[in-house]
C-alpha cells in the first residue's frame, strides 16, 4: 500500500515537472519570437523609399515664347499613400508648369507601391527672353512618411531636386515624324478607323494631315484616295500625339493596302486591312507557330502541332489546313479535324505525317476558324535516314505480260499439234 502510494506520488510529481518544463519551453519560445518579430518589424516596415527616373532634364533649342515638355516618374516602395508636392527654384521657376498640379489646394496627389506618378514638366519661356542657357530646379517633396511616438520628435520627409537646364533660341526649325499607322479591319458598310502617332522633335508646333491611297489586294489598282484631317489638332514641340479618325467608304469584302503619307513630316507607310462580311469582325486569332521534330526517318509517324491563339471575343472552331511540299511539289495536303478554342486561350491542333522519301519537307498551313483564315506559318522536316520504298516499274509488268502471252500461245500450239497427231 505504501509502495503504491509512493509510486503514484512520484508519477504526480513527474507530471507536474513535465508540465512546468513544457510551459517554460513554450514561454521561452514565445519570448524569442516576440524579440525576433520586433527586430524584423523595426527593420523591414519602417523604411520608406522614393525614386525618380530623371534627376537632370535638359531642354535644347526652346524657342522664345515656345513650348517644351518632359516627363519624369516618381514612385515609392511604401504600401501606404504618401502625398507629394513640388517647389520651383532658380532662373526658370517662372516658366515652369507642373502637371498634374501637385500643389493644388483642391486635390492631393498620392503615390504608393502600386501607384507611381508621371509628372510633366512644361517650359514656356516668355517671348522677350534673351537667347541663352538658364538653370533651375524642380523639387518633388513627399509628405511626412512616418510619425514619431515620443514627447519630442521629428517627422521625416524625402525630396528630390531635379536640375533643369533650358537653352533658349530665336531660330525656328521644323522636325517631325509620323508612325504607328494602323487601319483597323472593318465590316462592309462600316467606316474605316485609322490611327497614327506624330512626334514633334522641332521647336514649332505642327498641324499634321495625311493622304491615304487605298489599293486592291494585288496593289495593281488604286481604289480610292482620301485626304485625312485631324480636326486641326496641333502637336506641340517635344511631344508625341496619337491621332485617329474615321471615314466612310464603299469598299467590298476583301483585303486592301493603304499607302499613307503624313504631312508636313513627309513620312509614309504601307499597311493592310480587311473588309469583312457583317458579323464576322468579332472573331480573331493568330497562328503562333507550327511545331514538329526537325529530323525524322522514312516511315516515322511525325506529329505536327499548330498552336493557335483565339484573340477574339467568342469561342471558335478551328482546323489546320495546309500542304506538305518537297522540292516545290505537294507531297500531302493537311486538313485536320475541328478543335474548339475558347477566347483568350491557346489551342494545339495536331496532325500526323509519314515521310516516304528522303528530302526536306516544308509544312505550311493556316488556321481556318469560323470561316476566317489566319496568316500562314510553316516549319521544316528533314528526312535523311531509312529505306525508300522501291518505285513501281511498268516495264517489268509489260515483260511479264508478254511472257505469259507467249507461253499461252506456245501451249495452244502444242495442244493443236497433239490434236492433229491424234487425228492422224
Amino acid at each position: 500500500m505504501s509502495k503504491s502510494s509512493s509510486k503514484s506520488s512520484i508519477k504526480m510529481w513527474n507530471k507536474i515537472l513535465n508540465k512546468l518544463f513544457f510551459g517554460m519551453k513554450l514561454f521561452s519560445i514565445l519570448i524569442i519570437f516576440t524579440i525576433l518579430y520586433s527586430i524584423l518589424s523595426s527593420v523591414l516596415v519602417q523604411a520608406v523609399g522614393i525614386s525618380v527616373t530623371k534627376a537632370v532634364i535638359d531642354y535644347e533649342n526652346v524657342l522664345k515664347g515656345g513650348y517644351a515638355e518632359d516627363i519624369l516618374y516618381v514612385s515609392t516602395d511604401a504600401p501606404f499613400d504618401i502625398p507629394i508636392s513640388y517647389e520651383l527654384l532658380g532662373d526658370t521657376k517662372n516658366w515652369i508648369n507642373v502637371s498634374p498640379d501637385l500643389n493644388s489646394p483642391n486635390t492631393t496627389v498620392f503615390i504608393n507601391n502600386t501607384n507611381y506618378q508621371p509628372i510633366k514638366i512644361v517650359i514656356n519661356p516668355p517671348v522677350d527672353t534673351p537667347v541663352g542657357t538658364y538653370n533651375g530646379t524642380v523639387r518633388i517633396i513627399t509628405g511626412a512618411i512616418n510619425k514619431p511616438g515620443g514627447q519630442y520628435g521629428s517627422q521625416l520627409q524625402a525630396a528630390f531636386m531635379i536640375r533643369v537646364t533650358v537653352k533658349v533660341t530665336g531660330t525656328e526649325f521644323l522636325s517631325c515624324s509620323g508612325g504607328g499607322i494602323v487601319i483597323k479591319d472593318t465590316e462592309v458598310g462600316s467606316p474605316l478607323e485609322y490611327y497614327m502617332t506624330v512626334s514633334n522633335s522641332g521647336n514649332i508646333r505642327v498641324t499634321p494631315t495625311a493622304v491615304i491611297d487605298i489599293w486592291n489586294q494585288d496593289q495593281t489598282k488604286l481604289i480610292m484616295s482620301k485626304q485625312l484631317e485631324f480636326n486641326s489638332m496641333e502637336v506641340l514641340p517635344t511631344t508625341n500625339q496619337a491621332l485617329s479618325n474615321t471615314f466612310a467608304n464603299t469598299l467590298r469584302i476583301g483585303q486592301y493596302w493603304a499607302y499613307v503619307t503624313v504631312a508636313p513630316c513627309g513620312n509614309s507607310g504601307l499597311v493592310t486591312f480587311n473588309v469583312y462580311d457583317k458579323g464576322t469582325i468579332v472573331d480573331s486569332g493568330e497562328l503562333i507557330r507550327i511545331d514538329n521534330v526537325a529530323w525524322a526517318k522514312i516511315g516515322d509517324v511525325v506529329p505536327i502541332t499548330a498552336t493557335f491563339k483565339n484573340t477574339g471575343q467568342r469561342s471558335v472552331s478551328a482546323k489546320l489546313k495546309g500542304v506538305i511540299t518537297s522540292e516545290n511539289k505537294i507531297v500531302e495536303t493537311i486538313d485536320s479535324e475541328f478543335y474548339d478554342i475558347a477566347p483568350g486561350q491557346n489551342g494545339n491542333i495536331q496532325v500526323y505525317f509519314t515521310p516516304k522519301k528522303y528530302g526536306q519537307y516544308i509544312i505550311s498551313g493556316r488556321i481556318l476558324y469560323n470561316n476566317k483564315l489566319s496568316f500562314e506559318k510553316s516549319s521544316v522536316l528533314n528526312v535523311n535516314e531509312g529505306v525508300e520504298a522501291a518505285g513501281f516499274n511498268w516495264l517489268y509488268v509489260l515483260i511479264i505480260i508478254i511472257i505469259i502471252i507467249i507461253i499461252l500461245l506456245l501451249l495452244i500450239r502444242i495442244r493443236r499439234k497433239k490434236h492433229n497427231i491424234r487425228r492422224l
Binding site: S42, A47, V48, G49, I50, S51, V52, T53, K54, A55, S75, D77, I141, A144, N146, K147, P148, G149, G150, Q151, Y152, G153, S154, Q155, L156, Q157, A158, A159, F160, M161, R163, I288, R289, N292, V293, A294, W295, E327, Y358, G359, Q360, I362, I363, S378, S379, V380, L381, N382, V383, N384, Y396, I399, I400, I402, I403, I406, I407, L410, I414, K417
Partner: protein
C-alpha cells in the same frame, strides 16, 4: 519432245532477260540514242546547316515597345533579349539558346556574373515562328536596381541538333534611377526642459543606380518658420536647437539645422554594388530650450532631399 524443249528454252530466255533487266542497286544514267532525253536517278542527302542569329532586341518585358529600360528602385526588373534565329533545317532544329547581357563600357561576354555588370540566361524559350526557317526566342533576366546605367550588350548563342552554333549581338540602355530610402522618424523620447535629448540615428540608403548627395532642412509647422518643433501646449523650439552630423560626435561638433537646405558634408551616397546593403547613418540631437516655453508634445519636420551627384 522438241516442242517441250523449245518451250523450256523460250521460258528460260525470258527469265534470263528479266533478271538482266532488273536494277542491280546502282543508279544508272540511261542515255537515249539521240542524246536529247536524259533520265537521271538522284538521291538527296539532307545535311545539317549552321543556325544563325538574325537580330537581337533589348526590351522591357512589361512593355516590349520600350527599348530603353528604367530599373525598379530597390527591386528587380524583368529585362528581355528577343532573339530572331534562322536555321535552314527549320527553326525547330534549334535545341538550345543561351544569352548573356553585360555593361558595355567595362565588362565583356566572358566576364563572371555580377549584379552590376553581367548576367546570363541559359534557358531561353521559343516564343513563335516567322517562317519555316525563322523563329524567335525570349531570354529573361532579373536585373537588380543597382545595375549600371548606360549601354548594355546582349549576346545570344544558338545550338542545333547537330551541335553546330551561331551567335549574334544587340544592345540596349538602362536609364539612371535616383532613389532614396529614409528610415523611421527621429524620436527623441522624453526629456526635461533645458536638457539635451539623446543622440538619435536616422539611416538613409541609396536604392538607385546613381550616386546622390543629400541635403537636410527643418521646420516646425510650416516651411521657413525657423522652428525645429511646434508644441501641443503652446511654445516651440527654434530650428538651431536641433543638430546633426554624419558621425557620432558630441553636440558641439554637430551642425545646427536651418530652414534652408544644407548638405550633409562629405557625404556622397554611391550606388549599392552588392546585395549587402550599405546604409549611411546620420546622428541627431535636440536641446530643449526654455526660451520659447515648449510644453506638451513637440513635433517638427526634417526634409531629406536627394540631388544627382
Amino acid at each position: 519432245m522438241n516442242s517441250k524443249v523449245f518451250l523450256i528454252f523460250i521460258v528460260l530466255s525470258f527469265a534470263v532477260a528479266l533478271v538482266l533487266l532488273l536494277p542491280l542497286g546502282v543508279a544508272p544514267n540511261n542515255v537515249s540514242a539521240n542524246y536529247k532525253n536524259v533520265t537521271v536517278w538522284t538521291h538527296v542527302n539532307i545535311t545539317n546547316s549552321r543556325p544563325e542569329v538574325l537580330n537581337i532586341t533589348f526590351q522591357d518585358s512589361a512593355n516590349t515597345s520600350l527599348k530603353n529600360i528604367t530599373l525598379n528602385a530597390g527591386g528587380l526588373k524583368d529585362v528581355q533579349c528577343n532573339v530572331t534565329v534562322r536555321d535552314w533545317n527549320g527553326f525547330n532544329d534549334i535545341v538550345y539558346l543561351n544569352a548573356t547581357i553585360w555593361y558595355a563600357p567595362t565588362s565583356n561576354i566572358s566576364a563572371p556574373n555580377d549584379n552590376n555588370t553581367h548576367y546570363t540566361n541559359s534557358s531561353c524559350s521559343l516564343n513563335g515562328s516567322i517562317s519555316a526557317y525563322v523563329g524567335w526566342y525570349v531570354c529573361d533576366f532579373n536585373v537588380i536596381y543597382y545595375a549600371n546605367n548606360g549601354t548594355w550588350m546582349c549576346n545570344a548563342t544558338v545550338i542545333d541538333n547537330a551541335s553546330t552554333n551561331g551567335t549574334g549581338m544587340g544592345n540596349g540602355t538602362f536609364y539612371p534611377v535616383y532613389a532614396l530610402n529614409v528610415t523611421d522618424g527621429i524620436d527623441y523620447g522624453n526629456a526635461a526642459v533645458e536638457s539635451f535629448a539623446g543622440n538619435v540615428t536616422a539611416n538613409i540608403t541609396n536604392l538607385g543606380n546613381m550616386p546622390i548627395n543629400i541635403t537636410v532642412e527643418g521646420y516646425g509647422a510650416g516651411r521657413g518658420d525657423g522652428l525645429a518643433m511646434n508644441c501641443s501646449l503652446g511654445g516651440n523650439i527654434t530650428v538651431s536647437n536641433e543638430r546633426f552630423a554624419t558621425a557620432n560626435v558630441a553636440w558641439a561638433l554637430k551642425t545646427p539645422l536651418t530652414g534652408n537646405s544644407q548638405p550633409l558634408s562629405n557625404l556622397t551616397m554611391l550606388k549599392q554594388n552588392s546585395t549587402a546593403l550599405i546604409t549611411n547613418s546620420t546622428y541627431w540631437q535636440l536641446y530643449i530650450d526654455s526660451t520659447n516655453n515648449p510644453g506638451g508634445n513637440c513635433t517638427g519636420n526634417i526634409i531629406f532631399s536627394a540631388v544627382a551627384s
